[in-house]
């Protein structure tokens, strides 16, 4: 069950990005909104309202398509607990979260749309030499959400929308096994996953100067069934790692409830503020169940016990000329990872995001958005003694340049 669907869909390269939001969430759903600190619940964001607030989708005036992609460049530095001099740096592959949104006005009140986006994912590569290699060599998590959506304008000021989410993805986890042969033992787990959920929102715009929105994106349980294992162990103990063993696992992609407000003091200026609560407490453990005993055990389980976490966002857009929009934003993303539970696959910490962007209208039909986001996570030291993680100090930064196109018809 390798994730062949993904490979076909995306040519094998355009996969989701490193987890640079809290946990393994990837908040890079629209280039315009990235420029504005990834706000968007309380304003009309164009076609991207399919993601940010389906209730606002009915406010979109024209049919249109938005496509965009972000290059997520991330690195994580590591130092072992003092007095060790040991350090490491992850060599994460370039993440490429992307988005596609299409909307169509079925009639004056009803808008239908389709979104395809990548709100979760992670790719972190520590290699097979660092001191934490028995915890993790490399992890790739992918999730692509496909979301058909309807939005209805209840009144001129009030919109409601709901989308059905079908998620596909996969997980690939590689780690070293502490058994020394000619080379060190290794294990690779690889499986495709899928899950379902909803995305619903209400949008209310009482005046030209203010708007508010509420959105709810449900938890999606990604289930891996009969994923592949590949073990590399010295011959004399290979019998403890039976070939052809499959694994089952389940990974929750947590719910997000957001409220947002949009303030338009002048025709040229939009200010947006969002607060999100991410239901990370759903992530209690990471468990792999095997079809045969692996090194004497039928499963492995490590506690995660994440906490629900809040994200605070603010962003603005200023219309400099008819064609040119300038944007800036910031957010503060609280980590869901409690002390003692830090892991090398998600060495999470409270994060500050700073963004800037421009939008340029090329023609009546075509406009382009460019964005740049800098993410700086706080340096965090943890014993990692409750999660089976790797103790030490972690520090992550990421840079995410992105570009998007909007076409109206």
């Amino acid at each position: 069950m390798k994730s062949k669907i993904l490979a076909l869909l995306l040519g094998g390269t355009l996969l989701s990005g490193s987890a640079m939001a809290g946990g393994y969430q990837v908040n890079l759903a629209s280039q315009r909104q990235i420029g504005m600190g990834h706000t968007g619940t309380g304003i009309v964001t164009g076609n991207a309202s399919i993601f940010f607030n389906p209730g606002a989708m009915s406010q979109v005036r024209e049919n249109g398509v938005t496509i965009g992609a972000t290059g997520l460049i991330s690195k994580i530095a590591y130092r072992a607990p003092e007095p060790s001099g040991t350090e490491a740096m992850s060599d994460n592959p370039l993440g490429t979260p992307f988005n596609f949104y299409g909307t169509y006005k079925a009639d004056d009140l009803l808008t239908v749309g389709l979104g395809v986006y990548t709100p979760f994912g992670s790719s972190v590569n520590w290699g097979s030499d660092w001191n934490g290699r028995f915890g993790l060599n490399e992890l790739t998590l992918q999730a692509i959400f496909i979301q058909p959506t309807v939005s209805y304008q209840l009144t001129e000021k009030l919109g409601f929308g709901v989308g059905f989410v079908y998620a596909i993805g996969g997980v690939n986890l590689q780690r070293s096994i502490p058994l020394q042969g000619q080379e060190e033992g290794r294990v690779e787990l690889d499986g495709g996953a899928s899950g379902i959920g909803i995305n619903a929102g209400i949008f209310f715009k009482p005046s030209e100067k203010i708007s508010v929105g509420l959105s709810y994106r449900s938890k999606v349980d990604m289930k891996v069934e009969e994923g592949d294992t590949e073990f590399n162990a010295p011959a004399s103990v290979a019998g403890r790692f039976p070939a052809g063993t499959t694994f089952d696992a389940e990974l929750p992609l947590p719910s997000t409830v957001s409220i947002g407000v949009g303030i338009m003091p002048t025709e040229k200026l939009t200010i947006a503020i969002d607060v999100s609560r991410v239901g990370w407490s759903a992530y209690e453990k990471l468990r792999f169940d095997y079809s045969a005993n692996v090194n004497g055990a039928s499963f492995t389980e490590n506690a995660r016990n994440y906490d629900d976490a809040y994200i605070f966002r603010i962003g603005g857009e200023y219309k400099l000329t008819e064609a040119l929009n300038l944007r800036a934003g910031a957010y503060y993303d609280n980590t869901p990872v409690e002390d003692g539970y830090l892991t090398p696959e998600t060495p999470d910490a409270n994060a500050l995001g700073l963004s800037a962007g421009i939008g340029y209208t090329l023609s009546e039909k075509l406009s382009i958005d460019a964005s740049f986001l800098y993410i700086n996570k706080e340096e965090r030291t943890d014993l990692s003694n409750k999660s089976g993680g790797i103790a030490g100090t972690y520090k992550s930064v990421a840079y995410a340049p992105g570009i998007g196109l909007n076409y109206k018809f």
Binding site: K75, S84, G85, F134, G389, K395, Y399
Partner: protein, 463 residues
């Protein structure tokens, strides 16, 4: 343009974590020498090889000292062509029941001549004076470095100085600024591994006089250093692997116990030195006072069955020629009054004394360990030296611990810390020892030495 921008950022804005400060504190690591036994030499898997030398704890310490002013550290390394040194044992596989099978490594040895017990000479100056097998009792013995002495000391002793003692050799070093001293293990261990059947525990008076002479020699010019205590030898896999298995088997068979020989080879009263060992007294995780040696693993499964395997194996070892084996065997059986038609563990065919540490022997071992360690610590305190309390450390890890996702314990093979001989650490185990020493040095001398990544040092190699 964005890509270019990103490319510049990628290379110039990597996340950084401040490196911990490093300093020598009040110590001076300009010239470091290591005095000790097999542990200091890098002995592992029942032999000394180039790999063991390169990964010895003094070599690890010297490497870390270099970061704060330490100089070169010369070891009497075997050449690449003779990398297997004395020879050692490797893991060849497992029996159907999961018992390890070891095999000797016999190629690329550093023997001076075929079948010689002497090793290829190494007479360059050394910083690592670790001599496998040496006891505190041996350091004043003239000729210990001769062909009739210890082959490892003979190896580094110039022929012209064959009568030089180990203490005199160490006294030649007058310009060292830092030293490590870890002696005393063999003053107990030889007696213990022979099940109290051979060897003797060093007299306390001899131990104290020799040990303090060595400390005086090392500190004569004001050098600072670290001394290590003697671990509880009964906490190593050599003594903890077989006993619990025997206890479990006897308990399952509802056997009250078995008869064993006790005492030493020279004091065997064939009728009186046989004692019933109650099953409950065999030491396992729940306690006990009787230990089985790892050398007994080949015979432990034979308890309760008629066998003369141990005596046949012993006769083969002692016999000058294959033709004489039966004669030697008959002599042994007669001398010790063994009836091999009776079950092993029966009064007529007792469990051999060399394969068991009984309660009396265990008490002698534990008393001596405490006496010697008290003296070692008192000497260190008197000279203001750092102490690596190896006894306390190895006692503290008896229950196992975890580091960077790897489980460690004193268990044989699976515990990752001890090599195939059940006494000496794996390179990984030596790295832990070096790190513990670094912590002791840091604490004593207000130094800021960095510890090493122990995962870069191997554990037991599986075929």
């Amino acid at each position: 343009m964005l890509a270019l921008f990103a490319g510049v950022l990628l290379t110039s804005c990597d996340p950084e974590i401040d490196a911990p400060a490093s300093s020598a504190g009040s110590a001076d690591f300009t010239k470091y020498i290591a005095v000790g036994n097999s542990l200091t030499a890098g002995f592992s898997d029942n032999g000394l090889s180039l790999e063991g030398q390169v990964n010895s704890y003094p070599a690890i310490l010297a490497q870390q000292f270099k970061a704060i002013g330490g100089g070169d550290f010369a070891q009497p390394l075997f050449t690449e062509a003779q990398r297997n040194g004395s020879g050692y044992i490797r893991l060849a596989g497992f029996t159907a029941t999961g018992s390890p099978i070891t095999a000797p490594v016999t190629e690329n040895l550093a023997l001076r001549a075929p079948n010689s017990s002497l090793l290829t000479k190494y007479t360059e100056p050394v910083n690592n004076y670790g001599i496998p097998g040496i006891r505190v009792a041996d350091i004043n013995t003239p000729g210990y470095g001769s062909a009739a002495g210890n082959p490892y000391f003979e190896r580094i002793t110039p022929d012209a100085q064959a009568m030089q003692t180990y203490l005199q050799r160490v006294q030649q070093s007058t310009d060292h600024t830092f030293f490590s001293l870890w002696l005393g293990n063999n003053d107990i261990l030889g007696f213990a591994t022979a099940g109290g059947f051979a060897g003797a525990i060093t007299e306390t008076g001899t131990f104290n006089a020799n040990y303090s002479a060595m400390v005086d020699a090392l500190t004569a010019k004001g050098a600072k250093g670290i001394v290590a205590t003697i671990p509880d030898v009964t906490g190593v896999p050599f003594f903890t692997t077989v006993g619990p298995q025997v206890k479990a088997a006897l308990t399952a068979a509802k056997s009250a116990g078995f008869v064993a020989f006790t005492g030493s080879a020279t004091n065997v009263d064939n009728t009186k030195n046989r004692t019933l060992v109650p099953t409950a007294t065999i030491k396992d995780a729940t306690g006990g006072t009787v230990l089985f040696t790892l050398t007994g693993s080949a015979y432990a499964g034979l308890i309760g069955r008629p066998t003369g395997k141990y005596w046949k194996d012993l006769a083969k070892q002692q016999s000058p020629s294959p033709a004489a084996v039966n004669l030697v065997l008959a002599g042994l059986l007669s001398r010790y009054a063994i009836d091999t038609t009776k079950a092993l563990g029966a009064p007529e065919n007792p469990w051999p004394s060399a394969l068991i540490v009984d309660a009396t022997e265990l008490k002698a071992i534990e008393d001596a360990t405490k006496t010697f360690n008290d003296f070692i610590k008192a000497q260190a305190t008197a000279k203001s030296l750092a102490i690596f309390d190896a006894n306390a450390y190895f006692t503290s890890i008896q229950g196992g611990f975890s580091s960077y996702g790897v489980a460690y314990s004193p268990a044989f093979i699976t515990g990752n810390l001890f090599s195939l001989d059940g006494v000496h650490p794996t390179p990984r185990g030596y790295a832990f020892i070096a790190n513990e020493m670094i912590k002791s040095i840091n604490a004593k001398y207000s130094a800021k030495l960095q510890t090493v990544d122990e995962t870069q040092y191997r554990t037991v190699v599986f075929p």
